[in-house]
Amino acid sequence: MSGVAFILISILTLAAALATATLPNLMHAAFCFVLALLGLASFFFLLGAEFVGLALVFIYIGAVAVLIVFTILLTRRDSKEHHGVNWSGVLIAFAVFVGLIWAVLKTQSLSIVPPHIRALTVRQIGQTLMTGYVWPLQCVGLLLTAALIGALVLVMEEKK
């Protein structure tokens, strides 16, 4: 884990996230969201969780971001946001940020020396999913099926 890569990736991720939160043009903001997710995935790579980083790229960028872009294009009537800064939102977000930073810096037990990086292969992950985590896996499968059917039912035209 190199420090320079860490700094660069965190700057990229946070700048892209901030652009997502503030840009008035919706398509630009959506693409900045994709950029922020890429930064987050490289964060996972940096921390040694390659499989989660790849899953993030596949699921978030491949499915969720495309879905978001499609929805923006489908609801394009007011694609520019009539802008006015909502100061209470900024204030609350900043207060939460300061509170979280305070909590992180106050906690003494967080200064742990990182242990040696353990190679966690995809084979191991698959075996763990199929042995110890079978029931959560089935529940997530059920949840995804229910969410898909629910989304379809929500957007179905009502036939008179």
Binding site: A29, L37, F43, L47, A49, F97, I101, V140, L143
Partner: protein, 108 residues
Amino acid sequence: MYRIMTPTLPLVLIVSAALFSIGLLAALSRRHAIFILIGIEMMLAAANLNFIAFWRFAPPPHPSTGVMIAIFSIAISAAEAAVGLAMVIAVYRHYRTTNVDEYDQLKG
């Protein structure tokens, strides 16, 4: 000087806290329904980063616990995004707008 720059657990947690606050900012200050959803997704992603950071820095009892939790969390947020975007489209069909200020029928 270089020692400070190497990523430690508090540094990763601070980046994650910043990402969470930016997501909260997007969810609170945007007026477009899709971008409120994006803000929520960003907060969930920051939580995932926390899971992975704690998994990396503190040895858990089982070597893959943090990765498992992150994978399940990603799957659940994908389901949430699908349902949320479907709701945005359904409401758009009714109101012809995606500005949440004009969704005033549910006001108490």
